[in-house]
Amino acid sequence: MSCCEGGSPQPETPEAIGRRAFLSRAAAVLGGLIGAVLAGVGLGYFISPALRKKVGSWVDLGRAGSFKPGAPVLVEYTQRKRDSWITSESRSSAWVVTENGKDFTAFDPRCTHLGCPFRWHAEEKKFLCPCHTASFDINGKVLGGPPPRPLDRYETKLENGQLLILPKKQEHA
């Protein structure tokens, strides 16, 4: 090591960069790198809820034969749900509709406008929402009122004569 060790400035030559310039550049690069990794890790952790896949599980709503064609019913069920680190049992419901006793549709019981619980009105043969007077037909199509889209559906399947649904909140842009 020469007498110049330490912080004293060195003559700047066009090709070679001085010790001071080299060190400050190295510090900036290394610091930037460490900062970028930390920021990336923090960001990933912070936004991870947006990336997490929704998992639902099938719920048994009872014998398929017990549903009368043309008469939607609100079926209540209990579901074990994972809420982050809490596993809770929650009661929810779904509207079950069948027109022929073979094909089933299950509607999310929340109005597609702002989430109020709607009801089936047998005389009018419509789903009516009390909040802002929306109406839907038996297939969930909007007949009137403010909702931007038809009723949300849950996946359904039949297994050994039982009707199963997959309750899942829909994603809407």
Binding site: Y45, L51, R52, S84, W85
Partner: protein, 227 residues
């Protein structure tokens, strides 16, 4: 120089601030001894990491006996990079104590605590106690067997204090026994009280470091040293 930079220089004197904070004169230390001067900055770096990772952990941590353990498991197993963030905070906690102690030893053995830096040292002692406070309160939060019993033992040690022992113990535990109130107490101290205190103390400490400048390395007997 960019227009933005000049604009900021005129209005906020950022060039002067930069000069005072970073372009200040430091002692001409040689060889391995020079590295000892980095210990304070290393401690500061770890503190920053603890601050960031701690804020992230708090987003998914529940300070209640029936959920604390599960929420930590949730961070480890289900949050993206959660195990890494938790790990950084866990190991950072240990390194923070080690680095603070080493930094304290370097300022002691180099005599950096002498005139005019006594106040820097005194604030430093406060910082050391705060760092230990973080360690002690943070250790309970995972609420696993080790955390629980370590805190029971720590508490019993404090409980041995003559006369005041039983009172100290009850205040610390938030009641007769270790329980829900102990956990919320430790959590509040760990994430609210201590961070506020240490941020202020670090501010004063660093101000004093810049105000007094960094001390010279000690010289062999007979040589003059600048204060």
């Amino acid at each position: 120089m960019s227009a933005v930079y000049l604009w900021l220089c005129e209005r906020a004197g950022i060039d002067k601030i930069w000069e005072t904070l970073f372009a200040r004169k430091v002692p001409h230390a040689k060889g391995p001894a020079a590295w000892l001067y980095t210990l304070g900055s290393a401690t500061l770096m770890i503190f920053t990491i603890q601050f960031i990772t701690g804020a992230l952990l708090a987003m998914s941590y529940a300070p209640s006996p029936d959920h604390a353990y599960d929420s930590v498991r949730f961070i480890d197993d289900h949050v993206l990079l959660g195990r890494l963030v938790h790990g950084l905070h866990h190991w950072g906690a240990t390194f923070m104590v080690v680095l603070t102690a080493l930094h304290m030893m370097r300022t002691y053995f180099m005599g950096a605590y002498k005139y005019p830096r006594e106040l820097t040292w005194m604030v430093g002692v406060g910082l050391f106690l705060l760092v230990l406070g973080f360690s002690f309160t943070g250790y309970l939060l995972p609420w696993d067997q080790k955390a629980y019993w370590a805190t029971v033992v720590g508490g019993n040690i404090a409980g041995q204090t003559p006369v005041f022992g039983p009172y100290i113990s009850k205040i610390r535990l938030g009641g007769e026994d270790m329980g829900a109130a102990t956990l919320t107490r430790f959590y509040a101290i760990h994430v609210l009280v201590l961070p506020a205190l240490i941020a202020g103390a670090i501010g004063v400490h660093l101000f004093l470091v810049i105000w007094n400048g960094i001390s010279e390395t000690p010289k062999r007997a007979g040589k003059q040293v600048a204060p």
